[in-house]
């Protein structure tokens, strides 16, 4: 899932879909200097990571962002951040204790 976010193109794709709403692979490919299939691969990767869903409408497929997906990443980030903050706090407390009045 972080692997899906690792590629800059995929982040851009996600960004565009988030701000412009559902689009088709062909429409997106027109905005990037790469082939349609390349874009499709990226979209598939993002969908596999649970960040997108593709909905078929006639002969086209509109991809749109799934809101909850990013939450997991955010959760992990804050967990590690918290652990590190706890260590920082502990160090600061110990420092205060040993140098206190």
């Amino acid at each position: 899932m972080f692997a899906a976010l690792a590629d800059p193109t995929r982040r851009q794709l996600l960004d565009q879909l988030a701000s412009e709403g559902p689009l088709t692979a062909t429409a997106l490919a027109a905005r990037y200097p790469m082939s349609r299939q390349a874009v499709v691969k990226h979209l598939t990767a993002l969908a596999a990571a649970g960040l997108l869903v593709g909905e078929r409408q006639g002969r086209e497929v509109r991809y749109q962002v799934v809101g909850g997906g990013l939450g997991q990443a955010a959760t992990w980030l804050s967990e590690v951040g918290d652990r590190w903050d706890q260590r920082l706090d502990a160090l600061q407390r110990r420092f205060k204790d040993s140098s206190g009045p």
Copy 2:
């Protein structure tokens, strides 16, 4: 930077450093089924992404987490999330308007 977080090993490494405090590359390598150099490469990648710093003490180098680094990732996530939420809100409003009482 997301690329740095993409590898599971690197996330584990970050995790351990966040919860156990500064460690050397050799000490970390002892806990992983890979060579020391492999671990060093990961640590270097994390340091290049601004998530770690290595501090030399005599002949060893202790790596420790840099708190602010994760903030950037969190910021990006929340930005994209917000944009998507805005679109959702706009859609819901429009839907309410067109089907309202």
